[in-house]
Symmetry: C2
Subunit: 490 residues, 2 copies
């Protein structure tokens, strides 16, 4: 329990919290369930945003911005949507404070809104209200828009990054002339998410569809990517919804097709959020702190000089300067930590905590020998390597680390994904060796709900391209044609 | 009045609104005073964000994120701050809606917050509450943090981009060990803003200080950059505040200095917002539409093919493909508009409206002659140029346009900045030839207020490095040592 972080094995949940705080990622705000994303945490989020934003643009999307506030009446327009979101939202009722004459600041009752405003929990309603003005003809379609924004859902139990009252996200909202095109968009964005989460974050995911119970409120079909955390709990890392014509009907959005006939528009929406930070942490990190994939690390390499005399430091500095230029030319970021207020050992621990993928330690003997000591954060191994060709070696090592942490997570998931055929075995594993449990289910919402009530496990998804096989539901014994993926989840 | 835009001379205010709507920059939302920033408008804002963000990082700042909601009590802690911001804010009082049983969605009175939350109008209070936990010693200073966020101020009269209930902005919040350092930061960020607004937006600004009346609520000193719009009204384009120890005292933020003594921390804050979009539009645009500076134009060059037969189009396409590669290598964006649903004349008008700096028209005769027609948006001039070396010519032209629109705006400002020595002349000019009026003022808030009440002109700023000269206040005739800059303002 050095660094003020409890061991994962002792208390995983506490370990996560400790790590988020100690690695300067985030902290709780004085407002219930809200968080402050600290500069170091935010710099990781910025890298995630930049990569995703480029992927969205490469697939033809543009960003736009819609209002924070949504008139209350908008929520009633799509029946299932209101049930899903009205329960947990922040309501603005007044627009002024005043001094009560005794020095207290109070709400001014003369400034009560005629219609209350809801702080957006998601923006389908206000966006489809807007699209009505943008869409007349098939020539106006498709609309491929994304928004980076904050949203608010009044959660009762909150955890940093995983479930906060306010969180940051992106929400894509597209409009199409046909169901086929909308479904293709839904699937394309699921692929974009899977690509990002696997190849940038190094987090393997299962692509699948949600059951009716777990669908987004207002969607005909919800696609998702599901990841497995180190404690065997699943985490939904992103969702992409085929909304059919539900919102177009609710907001009366029609277009005239090529034959001049009026039709309702087809819709999708898709989003990922700061929750991904939680997935990142709980996939790779260890008791020594964060482990970051090189592609998302704000600092990819740190160089720590080991010296007694200033002239030694100056020699090292000159060398690192040259190396830095070489690395930067390769697009690799390096920090030279020459603070004289901290000892090398302290710095080593700090950069381990912060998840810096590669650490260079370099002293006078190294300078004489033409070597440096390289330490990998992922494997916690060290090697002494020659300075010649170091930049190229580092470039290759960073790629290796990116691959290695993904592979490690993939192995973990393979070890913790088990086919289960009886309900007893199912319950036993959930307690003794939690992970993805692949099991037969009779396809009814009732059975799904009973399993959830009895075990806290939910159907995470019906994997895409699922193998079809005969079987019996683990709970009811009724016939089933495919296995689905169960787990307890964040 | 083609394109549905009224002439500037006829009605400047209506022209601005028409242009914002017709050029697809923004529109009003169904929520009072809120706006929807459309994809084209947002893509300009994104370019502004990217340039500013780089400047902030180059001066050592990091981004972070603080909560949208601020407990009501926080506002009472800094006395002048509450007066400035409590009057016009959105208040969250409840956290749940419910169905009243008759199909209506109503606010659930059982879900009333104990303490109301304010949607941030600015974040000094919540950030200084947070800094208390971050700062113990001089070693923790300076803190150089910026936030990109949405804020809400309940404005009674709103205009797209210029004054909206919700707007997007960045707010820098820094903490320092000494007053000198904080003042240096305040001044540095003013310089960063001036650099950005002049060299990226092409909008000349006057750097100055606000009078006590116009200061930010809670600041000891407010620095600003003021621009002059085409209708002779001023627009405050950015502010940088020296907050002294006001917020540190209000939130009890102390640090132990090198001698181990506890002192209150010194603060600055600084911000620019989507209001800059208004300044951009009202500095350069004309009756034909937007005029964008090349550095911020989402599309810098558009190529429109003029052809009758498909094979002609294919020849042109091949040529433009090669040109595009050359331009992209220079970091210049080009769009090839080969839509066959619109005629060239329609496209020309559309790209004029959207402010694309350079337009290439190219037909079969051009292909035979090895030429293209180049049209500049800023001067609305055309020239026929040879294809050889075109990429380099375009690069140079874009730089010329960037310089030219700035110079034009600078000339306009020079023509509309007048030294005035009598109150009659002052009032006459405000009505007949509005602009910056440089006049003597006796230095009292009362005189400033009376001038404002009688003429609607305010003191925009006391220019930095102002010339000291003897004079008499235009209103009271009392002695004055320097002229200040008056104008009616947005």
């Amino acid at each position: 329990m050095s660094k003020g972080i409890i061991s994962k094995d002792e208390d995983y949940s506490q370990w996560f919290n400790d790590l988020v705080i100690k690695a300067d990622l985030a902290e709780y705000a004085p407002v219930r369930g809200c968080m402050i994303i600290k500069p170091y945490g935010y710099s990781i989020w910025e890298k995630m945003q930049a990569a995703l934003d480029k992927m969205f643009k490469d697939t033809g999307h543009s960003n736009a911005y819609f209002p924070l506030f949504i008139p209350k009446s908008f929520f009633s327009k799509e029946a299932s949507h209101v049930d899903g979101f009205a329960k947990e939202c922040a309501v603005v009722t007044h627009y002024r404070l005043k001094n009560d004459g005794e020095g207290n600041i109070i709400v001014d009752e003369d400034a009560k809104l005629e219609e209350e405003l809801i702080v957006r929990p998601t923006s389908e309603t206000i966006i489809w209200h807007t699209y009505k003005g943008w869409i007349q003809s098939y020539r106006d379609l498709p609309i491929l828009v994304n928004q980076w924004a904050n949203v608010v859902r009044w959660e009762m139990r909150t955890r940093l990054f995983l479930r906060t009252t306010e969180f940051l996200w992106q929400e894509g909202h597209t409009a199409h002339a046909t169901a086929e095109e909308a479904i293709a968009e839904t699937e394309q964005m699921l692929d974009v998410y899977a690509d990002f989460v696997e190849n940038w974050m190094g987090v393997p995911v299962v692509k699948g569809r949600k059951t009716a119970n777990e669908r987004f409120a207002g969607a005909l079909d919800t696609y998702c990517i599901e990841a497995l955390m180190q404690d065997g709990k699943a985490l939904q890392a992103g969702t992409s919804h085929f909304l059919g014509q539900n919102f177009a009907k609710a907001f009366d959005v029609k277009f005239s097709n090529k034959e001049g006939k009026l039709e309702h528009v087809w819709a999708t929406s898709w989003g990922v959020s700061t929750r991904l930070m939680g997935a990142l942490i709980m996939t790779h990190s260890d008791d020594a702190g964060l482990v970051l994939p090189p592609k998302l690390a704000p600092i990819q390499v740190v160089a720590v000089p080991i010296y007694k005399h200033d002239e030694e430091l100056e020699n090292i500095r000159t060398y690192i300067k040259g190396l830095s230029a070489e690395l930067r030319a390769k697009g690799i970021s390096i920090k030279f930590d020459d603070r004289d207020t901290q000892r090398p050992g302290f710095k080593f621990a700090e950069y381990e905590l912060k998840g810096v993928p590669l650490r260079i330690a370099i002293g006078s003997r190294d300078m004489q020998n033409g070597t440096v000591e390289l330490a990998r954060r992922d494997t916690r191994t060290k090697e002494t390597v020659i300075q010649e060709g170091l930049a190229a070696h580092i470039e290759q090592l960073l790629e290796e680390i990116q691959t290695n942490i993904y592979q490690k997570a993939l192995n973990f998931r393979a070890e913790n994904t088990v086919e289960v055929d009886t309900y007893d075995e199912f319950k036993r594993l959930l307690d003794e060796k939690p992970g993805f449990l692949s099991a037969h289910w009779d396809g009814t919402p009732e059975t799904e709900q009973r399993i959830k009530d009895e075990t806290k496990a939910t159907i995470r998804c019906i994997p895409l391209n699922n193998k079809q096989e005969e079987g019996k539901c683990i709970l009811t014994g009724k016939p089933s044609t495919q296995r689905v993926l169960f787990a307890r989840a964040y």
